[in-house]
């Protein structure tokens, strides 16, 4: 019991501490691919520390909701990220929220984030929020259909059970899994506001979605929002890792040495994923805003096809 609690607690701290490093790594690799030096690996930590120290400047008509939303977004994202297996399967509280609940927690964070964009009453916030809900209206159903596909293969919606099933030998090379993986990668790109859906480094209003919603935030509020987006990236990478690249995850009853190995494998998976993401972002251009629904519509169709195939026959 104590061991399980310690494991869950260390998992929560690990995601919190590792997420800025992942984003820093992606930025560094992107810069190197563009033949720049790029910011140091630990720069996101320094950014967060700097933001936390500063005063918050609020607009004259910002409400109490505006001040509360960064904490709500952070809490929802952190709880969701803590429930995704990283270096070890079998988290203590994984039975309290299955994958559908984790997706819905991310959805809550997005709901409040969109409200924050509308709070101050500027046109930028409106742009960000309206585009964000349009993207969400297609990304969320696609994600749910992926969850259905995985649940129909693994026999459960619990993430720990799914991860355990995927790392066992019962799963074969299934068509629906392949379709689900492609759809999941597309949805993950859209949800994390990465190129080609949104540019995380832009400050031009015509190209903003996520940045426009958080334009009015400053100081510790902005630090929390940034940390939440780091956590969300880590969550999606861990999700893809534990479901589709499950080798190396420690089993729930492992000893300290296996846990350490598991942690090492996990950091390795993060590095590979970060590298691939950076290469992908550097090689293609950002899509026009109204091409994004076609992109996500394709993801929804692929996920729906995967679910249909699972319904039709057990061997797909």
């Amino acid at each position: 019991m104590i061991r399980d609690l310690a494991l869950q607690g260390s998992e929560m701290l690990l995601v919190l501490l590792l997420s800025p490093l992942l984003t820093g790594f992606v930025r560094k690799v992107k810069a190197r691919l563009l033949r720049r030096q790029g910011p140091p690996l630990l720069q996101p930590y320094r950014d967060l520390a700097r933001l936390l120290r500063k005063d918050v400047v609020l607009a004259q008509n910002a409400s109490w909701l505006f001040r509360a939303i960064p904490y709500i977004v952070f809490a929802c994202t952190w709880v969701a990220a803590s429930l995704v297996p990283t270096f070890s399967g079998g988290l203590l509280f994984s039975w309290s929220a299955d994958l559908i609940a984790i997706i819905a927690l991310i959805g809550s964070a997005r709901f409040f984030q969109a409200l924050a964009g509308l709070d101050v009453g500027t046109a930028f916030g409106g742009i960000g929020s309206s585009r964000e809900v349009m993207i969400a209206s297609l990304a969320e159903p696609a994600m749910l259909m992926i969850v259905f596909t995985l649940a129909l293969i693994a026999g459960s919606t619990q993430l720990s059970t799914m991860a355990a099933f995927m790392s066992s030998s019962e799963v074969g090379l299934r068509v629906s899994l392949g379709l689900g993986l492609i759809a999941l990668v597309m949805v993950a790109i859209a949800e994390n506001a990465r190129i080609p859906v949104d540019n995380p480094a832009t400050h031009l209003e015509l190209t903003m979605v996520h940045e426009a919603m958080v334009l009015e935030y400053s100081g510790r509020h902005l630090a929390l929002i940034e940390l939440s987006s780091f956590l969300k990236l880590l969550l999606y990478v861990s999700l893809i890792g534990c479901l589709f690249v499950p080798w190396g995850t420690a089993t729930p009853d492992a000893d300290a040495r296996e846990l350490l190995f598991g942690a090492g494998f996990y950091v390795g998976k993060l590095a590979v994923a970060g590298f691939l993401l950076a290469v992908f972002e550097t090689s293609i251009a950002k899509m026009r805003v109204f091409r994004v629904p076609e992109f996500l519509g394709a993801a929804l169709m692929l996920a729906l096809l995967a679910t249909l195939l699972r319904f039709v026959s057990g061997s797909f």
């Binding site: 074969g172 090379l173 299934r174 068509v175 392949g178 379709l179 492609i182 629904p293 076609e294 519509g297 394709a298 169709m301 692929l302 729906l304 096809l305 249909l308 195939l309 039709v312 026959s313 061997s315 797909f316």
Partner: protein
Amino acid sequence: MHGLQFDVAHLLAGSLVLVSFVMLYQDRLYALLNVYALHALVLALSVAWQAFIQQAPHLYVTAAIALVFKAIVIPVVLHRIIVKLGIHREIETVVSVGLTMLGGIALVALSMVVMLRVTAGADPLAREDLAFALSVVLMGLLVMVTRRNAVGQVVGFMSLENGLVLAATGAKGMPLVVEISVAFSVLIAFIVIGIFLFRIRERFDTVDMQALDRFRGERR
């Protein structure tokens, strides 16, 4: 038959369906040609795997024909035709991409239902591969129906033929003679279409089907 071989065969057939979907999504000519080359490559891999598990060496020849001809020669030739004709590089689709993809899913569902009901007693691997092959054929037809540009329609026709080859190899024992004759007839059709495209372009300065439709009544 079950186990890894089954799964890899399914995976390759499913990838062919996936590449057909990607073909529905494209709206630029060069990208469409590249996706068609990928389509033919996946077909070659799938046929080669079938040759491996059925222990039918003549299917390796089919795979080689698919690889050389359809994945390399035909896209290169079409590319040069496009350059020579100076065809405008963007395809206008008749309906939006979203609706086309919805139609694609409906076609896959339809072929699943038809194939799996009609062949209720047959070998499971063959049935499901046949269902995938029918989906590829139907989606090739959908590509032909929803493109305005003649080259787009040709690519749809070729991907339809790929689906037929997948179906034939899945049902065990397609003799080489059939494959050669099918490939030959496609080649002939291809050459004829190419000649026609040149003549049409010479005469009317465009190969856009909608523009060409306007000339149909002029013989009066």
